[in-house]
């Protein structure tokens, strides 16, 4: 019954007119921007973050969350209609979703995606409501040692599951941790790496880092795709209804996809993308007609669509209860919380229940809005995809720059964004994923604090990290993960060497 009273607080907060309006704006804008190929949820949120700063904390978070699952959903629409993934987790939806569209079932495909996502969203929302308090209880038992170990584990897992080279990912995390340390040191008050600049005492503005590394770098690297002419035929509204057979075929894949996504979303580094890939692989394996996959199999669309939405939502659990971001989007959410002077962690639920439960309730409302909003608006979205890139990128640039200024009425953040654009392009060239850097950047100060406090408590005895059973467990898992990822590389290296000899 406690769950019900909690949800009551949540719906009370989320159903206020103000919050409903901003949830709606978030979902609408998120869908619109998420549809544009090349602009994923991370870049979208980074771009719109400054707009939420002037809002009440709960309203701002509701809007950001709306942008997130809106962008998620928009990406799938693009994938189905034009075979271009609007963002990375929609790559899988391209395969069978677009094949369905080519067979004239575009409307049905969009309806399956929308309803599958809604179902997954509903289940994931209930899961968050049911399990977050329990997880927060565990988090209360954590001391600095356990927190430090958990951050090591979280960062390792997030890097492991991100695509690209593992060792470069770790190096990016470290780079992020270092950049996160710029500013006043909490313990001594010493200004570190500020080079005498007073504006840097509060650290580098993280929106500037995110915009430079994601939004602006994306613009530069997408510039050559400028030419792509996108020919899309809007499906007529009449074809939006799916047949009873299509509906029945999508039920079980959606349920399985939801389970897979909910589970994978909980893991550090998990979330939408991995969930959709895992679900696709799973559906293909259990299907009685695996040969249909790639030619418009309904299970190949319904499963991953449900999974990516479930994964996107349950990844809020570790962020809300432990204060640990499991992916780049959650890192931005933590940053947004900190701007409102709320330090994420188990205490949020107690100190700001309206924020915690309001956000959860708004997720369900937002998912319902997505269904209602998207199906009738498809003709409009189709026209949006056809907008030329040369119209879009100046808009993104200017809105981001004005947004950066508005954070502190200061142009310094804009210069930093310019610097991080250059850095982002360099990372792109060197094939180093930027998301781990953002995770490190957010966690840097926290990690240092817990590290120093642990060793202060143990009076300098490093063995404290392997005297706590929880900490040992987490650090061992991290170590095992590193070994697993390194071993195949060793094997592969050997294989290459053997082949060269032969």
């Amino acid at each position: 019954m406690e769950l019900l009273s909690n949800l009551d607080i949540g719906f009370h907060a989320a159903l206020s007119l103000n919050n409903l309006v901003f949830c709606f704006i978030g979902v609408l804008v998120g869908t619109a921007i998420g549809m544009l190929p090349g602009l994923g949820p991370l870049a979208t949120i980074a771009m719109l973050l400054p707009l939420t700063y002037t809002l009440e904390p709960v309203t701002g978070l509701i809007m950001i969350a709306g942008i997130y699952y809106g962008a998620q959903y928009g990406g799938s629409t693009t994938a189905i209609l034009v075979n271009l993934p609007g963002e990375s987790s929609a790559v899988v939806s391209c395969i069978d979703g677009h094949q369905m569209a080519r067979k004239g079932r575009a409307g049905a495909a969009l309806a399956i995606a929308a309803l599958g996502s809604f179902f997954a969203g509903t289940v994931a929302t209930l899961l968050i409501a049911a399990f977050s308090p329990a997880l927060a209880e565990v988090a209360f038992l954590f001391g600095p040692v356990e927190y430090f170990a958990m951050m090591v584990l979280g960062l390792t897992a997030a890097t492991l599951l991100a695509h690209g080279s593992f060792i470069k990912g770790v190096a990016m995390v470290l780079t992020g941790l270092i950049l996160g340390l710029v500013g006043a040191d909490v313990n001594s008050g010493t200004y570190r790496f500020t080079f005498g600049s007073f504006s840097l005492t509060e650290g580098i503005e993280f929106v500037a880092v995110a915009m430079g590394l994601f939004a602006f770098t994306d613009i530069v690297t997408n510039m050559r795709n400028d030419q792509t002419t996108r020919e899309v035929k809007a499906p007529s509204l009449r074809s939006l209804t799916m047949t009873g057979k299509e509906f029945r075929q999508s039920i079980f894949p959606a349920i399985r996809g939801t389970s897979i996504g909910s589970l994978l979303g909980l893991l550090p580094g998990g979330g939408a993308m991995i969930s959709s890939f895992a679900s696709y692989a799973f559906e293909k394996r259990v299907s009685r007609h695996p040969e249909e996959f790639g030619h418009g199999a309904i299970a190949g669309l319904a499963g991953p669509e449900a999974a990516n939405n479930a994964g996107a939502q349950t990844s809020f659990i570790p962020m809300l209860t432990l204060g640990i971001p499991s992916n780049g989007v959650m890192a931005l959410m933590i940053g947004a919380l900190m701007v409102h002077n709320i330090s994420p962690g188990p205490y949020v639920m107690v100190s700001n229940p309206e924020i915690f439960w309001g956000l959860i309730a708004s997720m369900w409302i937002g998912n319902a809005m997505l269904v209602v909003l998207n199906l009738p608006l498809i003709p409009l979205w189709v026209r949006l995809i056809q907008v030329h890139y040369w119209v879009l990128f100046p808009i993104i640039l200017v809105v981001c720059c004005v947004g950066l200024y508005s954070i502190q009425n200061n142009t310094l953040a804009i210069y930093f964004a310019a610097g991080f654009t250059l850095l982002g392009c360099l990372f792109w060239r060197m094939r180093a994923e930027a998301a781990p850097l953002l995770l490190g950047f957010i966690l840097g100060p926290l990690m240092e604090e817990h590290f120093r406090r642990s060793l202060l408590l143990s009076e300098g005895d490093v063995s404290i990290f392997y005297r706590s059973p929880l900490s040992v467990l987490m650090l061992s898992i991290a170590a095992v993960m590193c070994l697993i990822i390194l071993l195949p590389q060793i094997r592969q290296g050997r294989k290459v060497a053997f082949e060269e000899e032969a």
């Binding site: 060792i167 190096a171 470290l174 100046p394 720059c401 804009i414 210069y415 060197m430």
Partner: protein
């Protein structure tokens, strides 16, 4: 040009990470290190810098052995123009005002695209000016000078 192995991306990444790590470690020495039990502000960055430098060297070695990844060619013109457009905006915003900063940014940025025409730049600037003024100044109440001269 010297490194033409297929490990170019890792060679460059290795150099970058090693350089950044060494720089961090060197800079953190100016702060008090303290002891393990009572760490000063310099200790944690020093540790991170040293680990990063070592990782950088490993990546570099991997690149030299040709086991790394291929680097992607940088699109020089868009990089320079997009970055420049951001800096131009920052320079002009408080010195001459939003009314000039937005068109200047649009022109410089649009230059990076092959679809640049003055008419398009003008239309985009006008639309963005109206949008930004409406949302940021009127709706969100951000104080930003329209004309600062």
């Amino acid at each position: 040009m010297i490194f033409k192995s297929n490990g170019q991306a890792d060679v460059e990444a290795g150099l970058f990470f090693a350089g950044f790590g060494i720089l961090t470690a060197a800079l953190s020495l100016q702060y008090s290190l303290g002891t393990i039990a009572m760490m000063g502000p310099g200790m944690f960055p020093l540790i991170l810098g040293v680990i990063l430098a070592i990782l950088g060297l490993v990546i570099l070695a991997k690149g030299f052995m040709g086991k790394g990844e291929q680097a992607k060619p940088l699109p020089i013109k868009p990089i320079l123009l997009i970055t420049a457009s951001v800096i131009v905006f920052a320079l002009l915003l408080l010195t001459v005002g939003l009314l000039f900063a937005i068109p200047a940014q649009v022109v410089v940025a649009l230059w990076a695209s092959e679809h640049f025409t003055w008419k398009r730049a003008l239309l985009l600037s006008a639309g963005l000016l109206a949008f930004c003024y409406g949302v940021f100044v009127y709706f969100l109440g951000i104080s930003v000078p329209l004309i600062a001269i």
